[in-house]
Structure formats: C-alpha cells, structure tokens
Point group: C2
Chain length 329, copies 2
DNA sequence: GACCCTAGCTAAACCGGTTTATCTCCGGCT
DNA sequence: AGCCGGAGATAAACCGGTTTAGCTAGGGTC
C-alpha cells in the first residue's frame, strides 16, 4: 500500500507542489477556489503529511521526550511515573518518546542524541540532581525543556514543582500536634534535589530527628525500619519518602510486634493504591494533574513562550489508620 | 548550536557526500584508508546522523509504537503495563513512541497516522479484542506488528502470549483440590480476547460457577464481590481477573465479616506489590520478561524474519494467605 | 596493443515536504 | 499610453541523508 504524497495531490488537483503546501497550511498565496479544490482532493485521497519530511525542513518533530533512569525491573512498582505520564499525555497532542536507561551518562547521551537526530521538540527532566548537568546541557543545546519536580529556579529553564519544604513541615507539624517528639525519616536517594529539600525541612522542624537513607525499594524500607525500631531511642513516628518503603516498613513493624498506630505512627510520601489498601496516612498530590501541568508548560516553551516557574498546589495530608497520638500522651 | 551534517564531514575529509554515507554505513565502495579517515573526522566532529533525514529515504524510523486505550487516570494503577513497557525497553535499542487515547477509534486512527507519517517501524498491539480490526489493518498497511497477550494465531502477525486457558484451569484445579465447589469469577472486560478464553476455561472446569463482569477498577471489584457474597448460594472461592479488583474484593469481605481464607478463598490474576502486601494468592507471571520477549519478536519481524508465535511460560500460582481449604472440609 | 573488469570515487537524482525567487496577468493611477 | 503593484501561480532550491549511474585509473587476459 502506497501512501499519497504532496506530489500526487498536486497532480490530481492540477497545480504545483508549492501551491498544495500553501493551501494545506492555510497560508496566503493561493486563491480560495484553488485552496478548496486542493483540500477536497487531499481529503479524498486520505492524505497525511509525513512528519519525517516536514521535520527535515527544520520544522517540528511533533514529539517530546522523557528519559527515566531506573533499574528496569524496579519501574513497574512506581505508580508515580505512570500517573505522571498519563497526565502529560492528556495535555499533549504530540507523541511522547519514552526510554528507560540505567545510568545518568546514558541519559545525557540520549538527550543529546535525540536533539542531534531532530527527534524531539522538547524534553521533560525528572529526578533532578543537586547540581544537575542536564540543565546546562539543555541551555547549551537550545532544546526546550521543563524541569519536573525540582523545586525552584533552574537556569533559564521552565520548571513545575511542588513545595517539598512546606510539605515536609506540614507532616512534621501534624505529628508534633499528636504529641510525637522522636520522629524519624526514611529518605530517598540523597543525590536527588527533593531529598535535600526534605532533609533540610525535616532537620529544621524536628529537634530529636534521625534520618536513614533508602532507595525507594521495599527492601531498603524494611531494612531502615528494622534498624530504627531496634535502636535504643526508638522513634514514635516514621516518615517515608515513598509509598513502597512505607508499606514495607508497616510490615516490618507488624512482624516485630510493634503496634501501629498505638506504638508507632507511619506516614508515606505520595499516595497510591498501596497506601489506600494499607490504610496508611499519606501525603497526597494529584500526580496526574501535575503531569498535565508539566506538559502545558513544555508546550508553551516549545511554542516560544518565555519559560515560567509553576508551583503546584501543596500536597495534602490524608490521615488514615497508620497515624495517631504518640504513646504515653 | 549547529549540528554537523554529512556535508560538513565530506568537506572536512575531502570526499563526496556519497562516499561518506558508504563509509559510515560500513558498505563497500570505499577504500579502507578513506573509510578510516571519514570515521575519524566524523567522530571528531561529534557527528550523528539525523534519523529524520534517514527515514525520509525510506529507511527506518528507529522507533516502535504502542497505543494504550484507557481512561487516562486509570492508567497509574496498572502496574502491568509499566512492567511490560520496562521489559520491552530492555530488549530494544530504538525508542518507544507511547500514546494514551480514550477510544478504539482514536487508536486505529493513530496507528494509521503513525504509519502514514513514517514515524514507526512497527507496533505492539495489546488488549486484543475478540475479532480485532487492528489485525487486518496492520496486514493491509504492511506495518510490522506483534500481538501481545492475545492467545493464538492472528492472521499473518507475530504473536506473544501466555496460555490463559491452561492457567485458568490450573487455578480452578487448585481450588478444587482444596475442596471448593462453588467457585465464582470476577471477569474483566468481555470484549477482550483473553477474557473470553478465561471464561471458556472457567466454564468447562467449574460445575457450579458464577461469572460477574468487572472492568478492572477497584469499584467494580468491590461491587461484584458484594453481590456475590450477599447472594443465596454464596461462593467459597472467588477468582479475580486482576490484582486491583482482588484487593478491593478482599476488603469488602473484611467489611462484611467474611473471614478469608476460612470462609472465602481469594485468588488474583497477575501478581504485584499489591498482592504481596495483601498476602493474596496470585497467578504470577514475569511481565517484564514477557515484554522483553514481545520486543524481541517485534525486532525480528522488522528485520524481516517471518512472524512467529511465541508461547510464554505458564503463569505460576503463588499461594499466600488468601486461599485455603473450603469451609466444612 | 586492444579489450575487459573492477575497485574507488563523484555527480546527481531522489525521498516529501517547505520556502524563496521568479514569472504572468490584470487592474488602477497619472 | 505607460508605469506600478499585487494577487496567484510555478519552478527550483533546500533540508540531510541514501542510492544509482557514470567516470577514471589500474591490472589481468588473449
């Protein structure tokens, strides 16, 4: 099966290629009668312009890119990204080019390659690092980009983010109001910018706080919890940096015979089905809407708008059965 | 920033464009010394061929496509697809074009568009319908495609699938061996091919079976369970078509004071973190590996191999706390 | 010495669009 | 009548590759 090209239309309508191009793109230079005839012929032939050919003439690639750095198998458990992607899609008419790689170096190389290959019009940057080389790269390449979830301003790039600092503070205040004093935190990867923000907020609002590093896996959540619960000064509340670690932590508590929430309160960052079924108190945000907002920002930048910083609404604490007053209060 | 083109290389190496093309693609027609020089120059200039331009000369688009039909918000809970995608990526060197649409019509249109636009070299077809128009479309377009998860043979397309019939039979046999006789099934969408297969297997191995339709959401799982548990002939075991419905069902049982597994056994199709934490017995398969296998099949077809049917290993039943001997046995 | 073959390279066409330069025709103005 | 301007169209260049046809020089054969 052969698809019709602009040449076929030109021949069928009895005009030149150039005239067809002008007619189809709604530009001046052809009479209304000719335009009508061309459109008629084009639709009757089921014509679709080839993005490929169009992109060649330095026009758009009609796609945006997203690179995720993950050990591939770990990805399936992270509902967050899927929600995010779904949200992005809802606001984009173009396609999303998605690739999962296993190292930061590959990620950088891939962005560069997509740019060189003229494959995308813009990209999303997620999992922002403390001083992220990607920010500079995008600026140097002149590739439109939106930083997703990296609080604050990043060079000349657009940015969509939630206030991790304020969110962490609100969680701690909630726990404090329930009488908790020894509060622990199971953090995510320390190389990520939002981990640092949350660390800072945690440190400044908790007096007697302990932070244990995790890596978002159930294993690390379980290990951290076991360490915390067997320490001398056992915390009365633990805040986890994601849902998977929190659920794993709740199970460890159950195994060790530590009653939740009587002896231990648990709060998860990022709500999900997992938290809902585990009845875990969680910091909930609308990830779908967040993705949609990011997509809107990227589309705007691609269309030439000057980059903006959009702050998302503050995540809301959904209180469920896993948190309660501190023991002895 | 301007990226180097084949012309720049040709000028720098003192040869023609054609010679550069031959040299870079490892084809004969240039001397080894020239080839070496060209490669040298190309790498020193950081040259990357433009896929766009290359695709224009009827070569490959270096990307494959996947369209998901979902209400966008529902997507985030389905770990299955994310696992699948992660697995696909692990076996593909090219990029994945992903788009979520909300109707079958849009899906068809999108596949057609991608084909017309020369955007993909091949596509994955998931959620196969009973007599799916996509199969014919792909054949007509001559677009390489792999049917993922649709048991059996589909026209001239390659296919990667698990034996739903045998799997369902194994689940029922397991329950029967525990003494269950009144077994119910909460099915998925009846328009999907695998639902029909499972229905058939269920009907032929269960004497006193009831089937309630669901749509993979927690709500439908809960509603179906409520209906089943309040019926006159209450089943002693329920098999759910996915994890989300099963977990919702387990909660309804708890709410109604029906003890699991003493009074009711629950089995979920497709294992996930959700099942693990809910201690649900589940039919487990390696979705990641499944995706990888599908990707291999698609790559093979794109490279010209004749389409093959690959049967995946039979899903394995992971017995957890939600299933046990039937009451009164 | 005439002939043929082949390796190695170049020039040019082509893919399917967009864009620019050019050309023609027609009406209005002085 | 002569000049100008603009509308409507076309031919041709261009984007960055691939591919084909054609050219040249050198070596082998009879």
């Amino acid at each position: 099966m052969k698809r019709p090209t602009i040449k076929d239309i030109a021949a069928a309508a009895g005009v030149s290629k150039g005239a067809v191009s002008l007619a189809l793109n709604g530009r001046s230079g052809v009479s209304e009668s000719t335009r009508a005839r061309v459109l008629e012929v084009a639709s009757s032939l089921g014509y679709r312009p080839s993005v490929t050919a169009r992109a060649l003439s330095s026009a758009s690639a009609d796609a945006v890119g997203l690179v995720l750095v993950r050990p591939p198998r770990a990805l399936g458990d992270e509902a967050f990204f899927f929600q995010l992607i779904a949200g992005m899609q809802s606001e984009m008419s173009c396609a999303l080019l998605l690739q999962v790689v296993s190292s930061r170096e590959e990620e950088i190389a891939l962005y560069q390659r997509w740019w060189a290959e003229h494959r995308v019009d813009g990209v999303f940057l997620v999992d922002l690092l403390v001083s992220d080389p990607r920010v500079e790269l995008m600026t140097a390449l002149g590739l439109p980009a939106v930083v997703v979830g990296g609080a604050g301003h990043h060079g000349s790039l657009a940015s969509v983010w939630a206030d991790d600092y304020a969110a962490m503070t609100s969680v701690v205040e909630h726990l404090k109001s329930l009488g908790h004093r020894r509060i622990a935190r199971v953090a995510g990867l320390s190389s990520l910018l939002h981990t640092v923000r949350r660390d800072a907020a945690f440190a400044s609002s908790v007096v007697d706080g302990v932070v244990v590093a995790g890596d978002y896996t159930a294993e690390s959540g379980a290990a951290a919890t076991r360490a915390l619960l067997s320490s001398d000064a056992r915390p009365t509340a633990i805040v986890y940096d994601n849902d998977v670690m929190a659920v794993a932590g709740a199970e460890v508590a159950a195994d060790l015979g530590v009653a939740v929430p009587q002896e231990l309160s648990i709060v998860a960052w990022d709500d999900s089905v997992l938290c809902q079924h585990g009845r875990l108190t969680a910091l909930s945000r609308d990830t779908f809407a967040f993705g949609a907002r990011a997509a809107r920002a990227l589309v705007a930048v691609i269309e030439g708008a000057s980059p903006t910083d959009v702050e998302d609404v503050l995540p809301e604490l959904v209180v469920r059965a896993s948190s309660g007053v501190a023991p002895g209060v």
